[in-house]
Symmetry: C2
Subunit: 172 residues, 2 copies
């Protein structure tokens, strides 16, 4: 099972970014999302709506304590611009995760030193400033070695039928 | 040269998402960003500041007309959830782009049918709803086959020195 833990959500500033983080988590094969910081009903609703319409089992919960969540039976990978190049660590991470749960920790504005200590790996998706949304997508893409791109979402009410030009969506 | 064209920016709703789109564009090897929709000084400043501090030649401009920009000597790839699976098209796109300019078009809330017509390819990074930020990152990552992860940014004032735990940033 793969859990994405997003730290320090702020309703006003982060709503769309956190929503993208969790939609990416779902689309790229994670099972569960947890966020700390401000509890945000709109964020939860938008993710729940996506699951309701597009299928799968992804669920999102709020937590008061990242420490409690990080006290987790499995491997913890913290995505941070300050970490080691993720591409050099993926083979080892994939190997260590076999048959174990994985938690991917995605920071907010300011990440405390304890998070770096709590993580089994601190890895960077480039050492350039960009986006936790992109970092999470790249990490999961490499974690699953591209197999996530063909993932089937059970119970979907909507399904896109890929087109060269134009749009086609089936209602199931 | 790779240009990222972001359609229909709205200051209030899209500022952080568009900022992430262009930071990803820069970090993953694009040369230039163009956005249509509302002109946004803060967006331009935040991208310019990243370039000033972290190096490279990336620049961002506003345009009144996507049609004028899409009248472009090169290959145009439109990223859309309704398109064909990008992983099935990458080999062909890479081949066709050799020695040519590439424009990657990233939609906003509602993309007009003419955009699908103007593009050489309409491709989807999964057929699930998630994030244009993630879609762009994955596309560029596969376009460069991972070589973008080692990109050097000339003229940087700041550089991260990757660490197993903790943070180290050099001022150059």
């Amino acid at each position: 099972m793969i859990t994405v833990l997003r730290l320090g959500h702020r309703i006003f500033r982060d709503q769309r970014i956190s929503s993208h983080v969790f939609l990416v988590a779902r689309a790229f094969g994670a099972d569960k999302g947890i966020y700390t910081g401000e509890k945000d009903g709109s964020l939860e609703d938008s993710v729940a709506r996506a699951v309701e319409q597009w299928g799968g089992q992804f669920r999102l919960i709020h937590s008061e304590s990242w420490k409690r969540e990080a006290n987790f039976d499995g491997i913890k990978v913290h995505l941070t611009v300050y970490g080691m190049p993720f591409q050099d660590k993926m083979a080892e991470i994939r190997k260590r995760c076999k048959g174990r749960n994985l938690m991917v920790i995605v920071g907010g504005e300011k990440v405390r030193p304890e998070v770096y200590q709590a993580a089994d790996w601190n890895v960077a998706v480039t050492s350039q400033p960009h986006s936790e949304v992109a970092a999470l997508a790249l990490f999961l893409h490499e974690m699953f070695e591209g197999r996530e791109l063909g993932k089937d979402f059970k119970g979907a009410k909507l399904r896109v039928v890929p087109q060269e030009r134009g749009k086609k969506v089936l209602r199931l």
